[in-house]
Symmetry: C2
Subunit: 265 residues, 2 copies
Amino acid sequence: MGRISGTTRLLAVLGDPIEQVRAPALVNPLLDRLGRDAVLVPVHVRPADLGEVVGGLRRIGNLDGLLVTVPHKIEICRYADELAPAAAFTGSSNALRREPDGRWRADNFDGVGFVRGLRARGHEPEGRRISLVGAGGAGTALAAALLENGAARLSVCDTDARRLHALLARLGERWPGRATGSAVPRVEDADIAVNATPLGMRADDPLPFDPSRVPPGGVVADIVMKPAETRLLRTAAALGRAVHHGIHTLDHQLECYAAYFGLAG
Amino acid sequence: MGRISGTTRLLAVLGDPIEQVRAPALVNPLLDRLGRDAVLVPVHVRPADLGEVVGGLRRIGNLDGLLVTVPHKIEICRYADELAPAAAFTGSSNALRREPDGRWRADNFDGVGFVRGLRARGHEPEGRRISLVGAGGAGTALAAALLENGAARLSVCDTDARRLHALLARLGERWPGRATGSAVPRVEDADIAVNATPLGMRADDPLPFDPSRVPPGGVVADIVMKPAETRLLRTAAALGRAVHHGIHTLDHQLECYAAYFGLAG
């Protein structure tokens, strides 16, 4: 940290709580390796203070961008001047930057981070049948990114029928005829079956779906990062299915952030 | 900077421009040596944005304090909940912190930094006759700190009669009978003669006072930091007077800041 000086540019990550946020410990070594005169600092913002804090941060001349995490990803969109397509579709954002004209633009890299992670591990989604369990914030981001990147057919499952059908209606508008829905998981003909619910974070959570019903040769993917090995992935691996861990999404989101903020090597 | 994480506490230094500000490069190595999980970041704020930026920064849960430099030291006082005596007397502040009750308190360490620097170099102001040239912001801070720390008699000089007499009136209220004023420097009987004007920053500036008129055995002090050796100090040294450099004030201000923010070793 000795190298921070008056010329150092700032990035901030906003969350509540903030102590557990991993972005500073991951991004700052990257900035060091790239020799960038920039630093990412953690910023603890309570929900009631979000507007005032963002209003102040936006006016800091040497602050170039924001990362946004729980619980601010939806609310932050109110404070952007424009929304990139992924932020507009999901109604949530995890990265904002100041554009050359001074406007603040919000984007969302949850979905594209997941897709890039899949590809990097050899699991191309284009032309495949994909089953997605969970139509919440993460599921919405993944659904849009998977269809945008050429998934042939997407089956979305959620126990909340209203949430499910709202998502299906919006997917159908943009990518007609490729997404279907159900209240129970349909993974029997999936090339890739994805858990986009929080199930698996706790040891006694039920499985989000039964990995034995995924066809042999199919991939079982999880967005849960803690624990790294969810019961879903352990069970799927024991059954001989290929597995895809939550951490790959984070790794590739970091690449997206670096590119978005002009920090890529 | 690899050690910044979600638990890191924040301090910020506000200025316009910000690139030349030395506090981050000076304070962050100190934080590292002390093993503190805290970082001081530069924050570029234009005058028109000061209220909004400070309003946002104050609400950041892990931001504990602000350093303030040109041109915000006067205006910042409007955004504090309370003023320490040095900030109230000078009407300017270079350090604000969040108190345990959540209120933001503004203080000013220009004067005390100067006095501590003098003492550290063996020039005790208590009981001495001191001549101060310049009744602006720096002169006001030094005058109050010198009287507070026991100067027997203070002679203040400024070419701006209104500014001079306004300062003398306020000094007289708080420390009756110890401060006098003049339009031209009176250094003939000074134990310590201090330049508190910007004269000396440029090579062709006139001398703020004639150091040959300071009694042999007297001290000639300068608040100008750049250049380190002003013409005043070079001339005084050539005449055999003891000299006291501007940098000592900064060094001891840093100690004051560290103590104020609870960072002292």
